[in-house]
Amino acid sequence: MKTVNLNRLLVLCLLGAGAGPASAHHSFAMFDMSKTLTLAGTVTNFEWTNPHSWLWVQVPDGKGGSQLWGLEGQAPGEMIRHGWTRHSINVGDKISVQIHPLKDGELGGSFGTVTLADGTVLTAGMAIGTPPPGAPPPSQEKTP
């Protein structure tokens, strides 16, 4: 498995560079940070936009149909500082993605780790200072 982000992450940690593990934009209270879902589907759009990137994934519902999920990521600036580019995910990619779903049950969430079909792992969100397994949910790190 290839981990694209790790070397960059290490460099960032060593230099202490980058702006921090958080969204610049808002509290994450709208997402259920205690719940992590893994979705598998096909990318229909990757909005490389401010104040947040948005990843749109068509997810088979297991009954012959599919549902479109809208997933919020960090701002491009934060993602660039964690090794992403606007070409990291492309329309048509088959991916699996870990998300914290919206509390209100709509088909949306905040996305974290993305795994591409070739095994490439893209780490989003709480990249610098990713809490170790068993640590409290990262919501506290994603406040402002």
Partner: protein
């Protein structure tokens, strides 16, 4: 070449001018020298001599940003030293940040693409530029807020119109710029979830700690918010990717705490 052209030449290059002497010889023209020394262009550059190099893009480092989060969520109930009223406000905010708050989340300025304002903007996770020009420091956070800090000796206005960034004046103490800010709007953020008042007073000491670090030591005073002046130190590291455009209105799907899930066209 006539004297006017030579004078402009010497002005442009800021060096002693050699001109053809009227009697045919070559001599330093004292008048041209004086004109150059007094020109506004020369004074402009001279006034920057000896100031520190703050060029580049600087982002709050991870450790400092964690303090921003801690301030906002109240992990340390004694930091900042809040009055009971503001401690209660923060407690509600902190609960929300731990995922137990209102569904829409904490109402913040930025979720509606409103500036953070002072002093909150300086501890937000953006990169910053510190642009020194004669009589002025301009701080440019990546989210397009602008701080204009006048270092030309002017005082604060007697009754400044409140603004998000407030009214800032500064003076140099060696290589440290001491910045005094008043006159913020009550809508400006102290940090996410808490706002300043019209009486909040901010003093910052901005300096280059080492080749890779800018440091700002800040004191915020406001008897309504704090039981004693709040002192904090934050450090900023070189943001290697430089400044990256952040236009909040581009695709804000989070306005008013309600996520807009209309698919993109």
């Amino acid at each position: 070449m006539n004297r006017t052209k030579i004078g402009l030449f010497s002005l442009a290059f800021g060096s002693a001018a050699l001109v053809l002497h009227p009697n045919g010889g070559v001599a330093a023209d004292a008048h041209a020298d004086k004109a150059a020394a007094n020109s506004s262009l020369t004074r402009w550059w001279e006034s920057l001599k000896g100031l520190p190099d703050w060029s580049g893009a600087w982002g709050l480092d991870d450790q400092s940003f964690r303090k921003t989060v801690s301030d906002s969520t109240g992990r340390d109930p004694n930091d900042p030293p809040l009055t009971p009223a503001y401690a209660a406000l923060r407690a509600g905010n902190g609960a929300a940040n731990n995922g137990q708050g209102p569904p829409g989340g904490v109402e913040t300025n930025s979720v509606n693409c409103i500036p953070d304002g002072m002093p909150g903007i300086m501890t937000a996770p953006f990169a910053f530029e510190f642009i020194l020009s004669p009589g002025r420091l301009t701080i440019l956070p990546e989210n397009n807020e602008v701080r204009r800090i006048y270092t030309d000796g002017r005082p604060h206005p007697d009754d400044p119109d409140p603004t998000y960034e407030g009214n800032s004046i500064g003076h140099w103490e060696g290589q440290t710029l001491v910045v005094d800010t008043i006159g913020m709007l009550p809508q400006a953020e102290l940090f996410v979830g808490l706002h300043v008042t019209e009486h909040t007073h901010v003093v910052e000491r901005i300096f280059r700690r080492d080749a890779q670090t800018m440091q700002i030591d800040t004191t915020v005073t406001d008897p309504a918010i704090f039981t004693s002046p709040w002192h904090y130190t934050r450090t900023y590291k070189r943001a290697d990717a430089g400044m990256i455009e952040y236009v909040c209105e581009q695709n804000n799907r989070d306005r008013n705490g309600k996520v807009n899930l209309a698919p993109p066209p």
